[in-house]
Structures are given as structure tokens and as C-alpha cells.
């Protein structure tokens, strides 16, 4: 029998506290900023023909705490934050809903996030992309959605900065979109 109940109780609560608060505290003590090398090409997606590559250019810092090459890269340079998302389309016919879907995804993180009217993305790799403005909580920027040729997946780029720096955010989205490569298309 576990006779010393209070001792066991303290041990159980202690272990829970160490795991629940300990790991986040230790993680906070380590910097998440990982400078990206000049010319570093980042791959997003599970790999092979179901992935895409992009080159954000020099001077970016990768947030290594929340970046995941399978799903999302999160980078920052000065006041500009850019997120590059990989989304799997359940059905190719759903590519047309990517814009409204992205609006809802952004609202999960920030209820004030709003997407403006989308326009066709000039010079997009497949010619099927859309781009438009985004505003959220005092920040403004540009988003773009780019499905791959078979519409099996899509890459979504979201750049935002404080309102005074929104031009830099818009330029960032354009830069990332221009650098995007879908290996399956090149083959």
C-alpha cells in the first residue's frame, strides 16, 4: 500500500510541475534565433515532389522554436515577420478555397486578422496563385497562396510588419514568391 500519501502526492505534483513548467522554462533560456546563411534554400513539405523550396535572401533569422520544415517556416528580419506554410489539399477542387481558408487560419491566431481582396499573382510559378493585403493588430503586410500544379498541396506566404513598415512586408512576400520552386514542376 502507498501508506505515505502526502509524500506520494507531493512527488506526483512535483513531477508534473517539473515537466509542465520545467521544459518551457529551460527552452526560454535558449535563444530561438538561428541566422539563415546567405543563399540558404529552405525546403517545406514532406519531401520529393510533395515539397517546395524557397530562398528568403540574406539577413533573415529563423525562429527555430516554432519552425518545422514539414509545415511552417517562421523567419524575421528587422520589423518584418514572414511565415511560409505548407498545406495539404484534401481534394484538388478545393484549391479555390485557399484564400478564404487562409483568412480563417489567421483568425485562429489573431481575431483581428483580415485579408483584403485577392488578385491573381503575376509571375507565379503555376500562374494560379493569389495575393492580397493582410492587416492584424496594428500590423499590415501581404499574403500569397500558391497551389502546386496538381493542386495536391499549396504554399502560403504571410508577411507582416508594423503599419509604418508594411512596404517592406509586401516586398518580402514578393521576394519569397519569386524564389519559390516546386520540384515536381521542374521535372
Amino acid at each position: 500500500m502507498l501508506a505515505r500519501r502526502v509524500g506520494w502526492l507531493i512527488a506526483v505534483v512535483g513531477v508534473m510541475a517539473v515537466l509542465t513548467a520545467g521544459w518551457p522554462l529551460v527552452s526560454r533560456a535558449v535563444s530561438a534565433n538561428q541566422p539563415s546563411a546567405a543563399g540558404q534554400v529552405l525546403t517545406i513539405g514532406p519531401g520529393g515532389s510533395d515539397s517546395a523550396q524557397f530562398d528568403p535572401g540574406p539577413g533573415w533569422v529563423i525562429n527555430s522554436a516554432i519552425s518545422d520544415p514539414l509545415q511552417a517556416w517562421r523567419l524575421a528580419r528587422g520589423p518584418v515577420n514572414v511565415t511560409v506554410l505548407y498545406v495539404t489539399l484534401l481534394n484538388p477542387s478545393q484549391a479555390g478555397r485557399l484564400w478564404s481558408g487562409l483568412g480563417n487560419i489567421l483568425r485562429l491566431g489573431d481575431p483581428s486578422a483580415r485579408l483584403g481582396r485577392p488578385v491573381a499573382l503575376a509571375g507565379a510559378p503555376a500562374g494560379a496563385g493569389q495575393t492580397g493585403p493582410v492587416t492584424e493588430n496594428g500590423h499590415a503586410g501581404q499574403v500569397a497562396v500558391l497551389p502546386d500544379a496538381a493542386a495536391d498541396f499549396a504554399v502560403e506566404v504571410v508577411s507582416a510588419a508594423p503599419a509604418g513598415d508594411s512596404a517592406a512586408a509586401r516586398a518580402t512576400t514578393a521576394l519569397v514568391v519569386r524564389s519559390l520552386r516546386f520540384p515536381a514542376r521542374a521535372a
Binding site: 513531477v15 508534473m16 515537466l19 527555430s64 516554432i66 480563417n104
Partner: protein, 353 residues
């Protein structure tokens, strides 16, 4: 009492039961507070989904209800001789669904981000689930089984009880985790069809991986708590540690990038099945032996013995008794006899248990 149990306690002052009661109350209150905190944290975390995708969120919850209900019935039914207390079974599920899940959410985020910062994002993407979940989640789930053993000493007397309560704790965790995975699948699929994203995730996690997910791992970890409860810290520590390590190993296999998921599920299911069959065989054999000894001693009538150790036969015996006082008397006798038999059969070195 047998050698498997600690020696009978020496006479204690009258104040001792009060202190025990106070300690049990402290365990219960702490567990309730932790469950409430866990519920609040989960609500905070997933409230945005309820706002942005209300129908899909309701669907994600609804799709897990059959698993919860069927799992609850099956796992309680898996205990030999009689099912565990309904209230403590519900407490185990609640712990897994609230306190354990919420704490695991924070712990896993912390360890995953630490791995990303120190070992690189590619390594973290491949291995963070396999390295963080077995450690964090198995400890947090089994904590609930320990709390039940502390709060209700009669509920967990041996490894069979620990296994059943562990499985129920894992079931609660599994159900809520399935809901969170379903919700997370909405943005992962571009939020283009939230209902389909939720449904696909639920089907995979119930029909495919559900066969040997958290319920199976926690069943093995909980078995260790049963050994600890039956044998005390000195004799129970080693089997408890082996069971916990086994559960962590099962979880590691489950979350590792290879082999294919179907093979991983089969391996984990085979492990929990073998452990269960061994424990069940040993437990039933011990119960039969105890019953035979009681019949020989005349404390259980020979005519009632064949009906005692299975649910169906006990029910049939009750139906044969005349409704009213006779049936109530038979029922009371059955319960008292089973209580005595189970106390003695909880854990002895016989069979493969």
C-alpha cells in the same frame, strides 16, 4: 492476508484514521484542482477553433464520443471477475482527458522548442514527437493512476487493477488528443474543408491508430502502479519501473518516424495483449485457488462457488433467487465473497503475473 501484502498494521492511536482521511481528502482535492486547471487550459487553447470553426469543432468532439463510450465499457469489462468502480473509472478518464492532456500540451511544446533550438529544426521535426511524448505523456498519465491508488486504496490492489485504471486514463487522454489532432488538421489542410479535415483525422486516429494508442501504453504503465500498491515501494519499485519503461518504449515506437504505422500499432497491441492475458490468467488462477480454499474451510457454500467468479453466472444466480429479501441476501453474499477473494488474489507470485 498473504505474504504478498504488507504485515497487518500495529494498533494505532485513535487519531490515525482521521489523519488518513485527511490525507485522502488532500489527494482528492488536489486531483480535482488539477483537472479543473487542465480543463481551463484546454478551453483557452482551443477556444479560437470554437469561434472560427464552430461546426467542425462540434463534429470533432462528436466523432470521439463513440470511442469514449465503447472504450469505457470495454476497458471496464476487461477486468476479470468484476468491473471496477464506475466512479473511479470515470475519474481515471477525466484525469487523462483534462489534467494529463493539458500538462502534456505545455510540456511537449517546451521540449519540442528546446530540441528545435539545440538540435536543429530538421532533427526536431523528425524526432521531437518520439522523444517528448513518451517521457512527458506517460508520466503525466500514470500520475493519475497513482492519485487514484492514493485516494481510493481499495480501487487499486494489484497489477490487474492498475492496468485497467491505466487503460482508462489513457482512453481519456486519447479521446481529447484525437479532438486536438482533428482540429489541428483544419489549418494543415488549408481550412478549405474543415468538416472533411476533422472527419479524416478522426477516422485515421480511431480506426487505425486507435487499436493501440494511449490506452494501451497507459495500461502497461498503470500495471506498475498496481505492483507498487500491492507490494509497497520496496518490492514494487522494480516492476513499476519496468512497466513505466515498457510504456515509454511502446510510445517511442509509436511516434518514431519508422516503421510504418500499421506495424507500430500491431507491435504495441501485441505487447498490451500479452501483458493482459498473463495478468488475467494469473489473477483468475489465484482467485480460483482462494475460492477453493474458502469452500474447503466452509466459509463459502460449495453450491455457490461455481457461480461466483463470472459476471454472467452471478447474474443468473441472482435471477434464480426470489425477488426481494432473498435476492438481496444472495447479492450481499456474492459481493462480500468476491471482495474477500479479490483482496487475497490481487497479487501473488503464481502464473505469469
Amino acid at each position: 492476508m498473504t505474504a504478498a501484502f504488507p504485515p497487518a498494521p500495529a494498533p494505532v492511536p485513535a487519531a490515525a484514521p482521521t489523519r488518513t482521511g485527511r490525507d485522502i481528502r488532500a489527494v482528492q482535492v488536489t486531483a480535482v484542482i488539477l483537472c479543473l486547471l487542465g480543463t481551463a487550459l484546454l478551453a483557452l487553447e482551443f477556444y479560437p477553433y470554437l469561434v472560427v470553426f464552430p461546426r467542425a469543432t462540434a463534429l470533432a468532439v462528436a466523432l470521439q464520443l463513440p470511442l469514449l463510450l465503447v472504450g469505457f465499457w470495454l476497458l471496464r469489462r476487461a477486468r476479470p471477475i468484476r468491473s471496477p468502480s464506475r466512479a473511479w473509472s470515470a475519474a481515471a478518464v477525466t484525469w487523462g482527458a483534462t489534467a494529463a492532456t493539458a500538462c502534456a500540451l505545455l510540456a511537449n511544446q517546451g521540449l519540442t522548442s528546446l530540441l528545435g533550438k539545440t538540435a536543429g529544426v530538421v532533427f526536431a521535426s523528425t524526432w521531437s514527437a518520439a522523444l517528448s511524448a513518451p517521457l512527458n505523456e506517460e508520466l503525466l498519465k500514470v500520475a493519475g493512476v497513482v492519485l487514484i491508488a492514493l485516494a481510493a486504496p481499495r480501487a487499486i490492489r494489484g497489477p490487474v487493477d492498475g492496468m485497467v485504471y491505466g487503460a482508462l486514463t489513457g482512453l481519456g487522454f486519447q479521446v481529447v488528443e484525437n479532438v486536438t489532432y482533428s482540429l489541428n488538421n483544419i489549418p494543415l489542410s488549408g481550412a478549405t474543408d474543415p468538416a472533411a479535415a476533422v472527419t479524416i483525422s478522426a477516422i485515421i486516429r480511431v480506426a487505425l491508430t486507435g487499436l493501440a494508442s494511449h490506452w494501451a501504453m497507459s495500461a502497461v504503465a498503470g500495471t506498475g502502479v498496481g505492483y507498487l500498491a500491492a507490494r509497497g515501494p520496496r518490492r514494487g519499485a522494480v516492476p513499476a519501473a519496468v512497466c513505466l519503461a515498457g510504456a515509454m518504449a511502446m510510445h517511442f515506437v509509436f511516434d518514431a518516424p519508422r516503421p510504418p504505422i500499421t506495424l507500430k500499432v500491431l507491435v504495441d497491441f501485441a505487447v498490451v495483449l500479452v501483458v493482459y492475458l498473463c495478468l488475467r490468467h494469473g489473477y483468475r488462477a489465484r482467485a480460483q485457488a482462494v475460492l477453493a480454499a474458502r469452500v474447503a474451510a466452509g466459509s463459502v457454500p460449495a453450491i455457490e462457488a461455481p457461480d461466483l467468479l463470472t459476471r454472467g453466472r452471478r447474474r443468473r444466480r441472482l435471477r434464480r433467487a426470489r425477488a426481494g429479501a432473498e435476492r438481496a441476501d444472495v447479492n450481499a453474499r456474492q459481493q462480500a465473497d468476491i471482495e474477500d477473494i479479490e483482496r487475497e488474489a490481487a497479487d501473488q507470485p503464481r502464473g505469469c503475473a
